[in-house]
Amino acid sequence: MTSASGVEFTHRTGRDDADRAAYFMPEIMGSGVALFDRDADGDLDLYLVQGEGADRFFENRGPGIRFVEIARVPGTGAYGMGVAAGDADGDGDLDLFRTGYGPDALLLNTGESGLVAAEDAGWDDSWSASAAFCDYDADGNLDLFVTRYMDYDPDFSCFAATGEQDYCNPTDVPGLPDLLYRNTGDGRFVEVGRESGIAALPARGLGVVCHDFTGDGKLDFYVANDTEANHLWVNQGDGAFTDEALLLGAALSGFGRPEAGMGIEIGDLSGDGVLDILLTHFADETNTVYLAEPGIGFVDGTIDLGLGTLGLATTGFGVALGDFDLDGFLDAVIANGRVARPPGESPRAPFFEQYAETALILRGGDRFEDAGAASPELTAMAAVGRGLAAGDLDGDGDPDLVLTAAEGPAGIFENVSNHAGNWLLVATRLPGGAPDHGATVRLLTSGGTRVARANPGVSYLSSGDPRAHFAIPAGAAIAGLTVRWSDGSAEAFPAPAPNRVVVVLRGAGTIHE
């Protein structure tokens, strides 16, 4: 429904530009999308990062899915990659952090006048990918983790096994240490990668998620690394982080192999009340599930959940977990697109068609099943799928999707599933009014307890709906709600009625609609 939505955006790689090196690697990595309520009017606005050229910002002017373009945000000198939303300056509204091949930028929300690039604060100017805001040191200010992909030189050429030039295999190029910026609370971000220990392990980082993975009340960072062991930076509470991914079983696949990690999602896939991890990967690798087992670490649940063979033929990037049909089971959507031409194929026009694949739609249950047939519009979109963000764009209680593609149009997909149950959206707010990224919401119902993240920083290069989404099986009643805030504290709230958006404020103990 892209045209009807009012969003007309085509990612521009700049591949044919005269001064562009052939097979410039950032162009095949695509760019991201942010869903965020910039004007605090209760609905999700849309920001699309452009590769070569100006980003685009659209305001949600529902009812239904209807956007109006507000601004073209001029490029910041970087080839655009990812975007993260968060209240960077602590003024209660949402700002954006934009990553790229070149200088990153903080875009401050100035209210009426829109988004304005903050003064250059010495942001990184190498190749950064996904970013995530969260308050890792619990000082009330949102800090920022930025993954960096690789130390890439555009003059470096790579070749397929047939000797034809193609985009580089990541193993051809060394990775870089990721970056951690501590928000000092006075409008400054200080890079503390070295002091925190994060700079000690360079790797080809792509996706990142901030969440308390160890259950100790402190926010950790999980990073998907391309063709290398993933990192789980466990927060030691004193500003230091140690990578415990190998120790906890979240670094390598269950077969002991490093995989080409791209996008990350977290959700309770095993129904045990703890958030698990879903990682997207290269073709010939599974989209891998790491099931969280408190006290043990993680166990590869890929095969048990039916993902041993589903998706092996495609290369996954953006990923969204959500109960799209409100039946009580988390479904998954994965944006796919190749990073190299099919073996033996020489380049032909239109060039990017050879890299196009269709999205994978998986219906949840005891095991995932391919549900592509139920979404013909989405599965008909052959594209070099990259960014993917899920969020309730039309306020009907189910998650919709925005999918971006390298050198392709962004797709806005309205969720038209039949609702098998009721729903609830929970917005978690800090006393200043900004969303508490990294909070976990637990909903108690007569049909059992469900847990969901209130955290937009998932997927690949993208930022989704920051509200926790719940499906409530038909006939089940809500008994209560508890929030584990990002500072580690827990708070109980009275049971809200279903089929509405509620706002919970830290420390208030009351619920607002």
């Binding site: 000797g163 062991a229 120790l247 906890l248 390598l252 077969f255 092996l312 033996g344």
Partner: protein
Amino acid sequence: MNEARALRAGSLVALLAVLAGACGGPQIPEVGTDGMEPAVREAIRGARDALAADRGNAAAWGRFGMVLHAHRLGAPAGASYTEAARLDGDDHRWPHLHGRLLETAEPARALGLADEALRQNPRFAPALALRARVLEALGDDDAEAAWEALQDLAPESVEAPLALGRRRLLRGDLAGARTAFEGVVERLPSSTAGWSFLAQVSRRLGDPEGAAQATVRARTAARSASLGSTADLDPLLIAVEDLRADSRGREARARRAAASGDHDSAEAIYRRLVNERPGSADLRYNHGNALARLGRTEEAEAAYRAALSRAPDSSAAMANLANLLARGGRDQEADDLYRRSITADPSHVPTLLGASSLHFQRGNLRQAERFLRDALASAPDHPGALQGLGQLLATAGRLGEASATLSRALGAARDAGAAPGQVAGIHFLLADVERQRGRTAQARTHLAQAEALGMNVPPAFRALLEPGR
């Protein structure tokens, strides 16, 4: 299927085969080679011409399939393997390679092909490994039995104990899992997966020290491994890779040339590759190694520095450059580099050995010993580190410790399959230590063993052990 139906089906297959033969057999798959590297085009054309000249030859079809497989041209490679298997139903190679080709894309078909290969050659371990992997990916309960069968058939397999250990870990049999993973890293000390699982299981068994040590080893192994494969070596797949004619194929050949001591060939191939892929730190590093082996010190130094400009934290490049500088008498520069390398990776054994050697030669035995003990902390059975420590202890006059350490070095070298020259060297050192301890009989025994391994023992030393001395 009853006998009559089987007969009818068999007749049909035979009839099709005859018809295919009468029509000159199936068409040779067409492969568009426009745009390919000339060497690749040539390799494909050569295999195709050979096949066209002998279309009834299974091996020619198989080889054409392998050449296509080597260049990732999966569909025509598969068709060629199918025809090779049709022409020679007794050859396990073609269904096995076809199965490897389809292992991840079409696991169910790959399973059938693995079974076919095993029917033709039940003792072909790589086909059994393929079968086990596919069963596991499909979530089939028979996977465990397949891994056990592989372990029985190929006791040297690393893949089988790794898989069985994983399964024990999932069942909560932590002690059993630990034993399996210890077996993995004993057989393959560079197994990232083995160390990683050992770290997990050690942590869960309440052994944080063991877990931390295994984590360090896993990271070190991951850095040195070019690919994350956990599969056992498959000689048929290696033969396929040998047919690669593109730049990466040449790189593999350069590695093999270097391993076999043909450094001239290795240097020539790496020189060409460096020009083709100037951004690769690995190629610069390997080129540096080839140049160093040829005694072309200045060029080797330049190559290592070029590698480090692309991968500044490469401990391997820093260690080898430091070794080169130390050999040239540039001790301070070498020492600085060793220290940088140790900062980047405190458990990098070659760096620690190099640093120890430098300090040993400068007479700084205490620091040299510290480096060696650090090396042994991360690789307790490293023959070179044990040998170095034994030598150092002997020099320091700590003869009892030297004797014990060198004896351990001897066992470790044998276990690691060290070259006879290295084993002979340890015997010689032991002979000298035992002589100094007044244990002449033992000294003579070690000396004899050193000589038996081809060592030319200096006459003056032998004279020291003659009766009456």
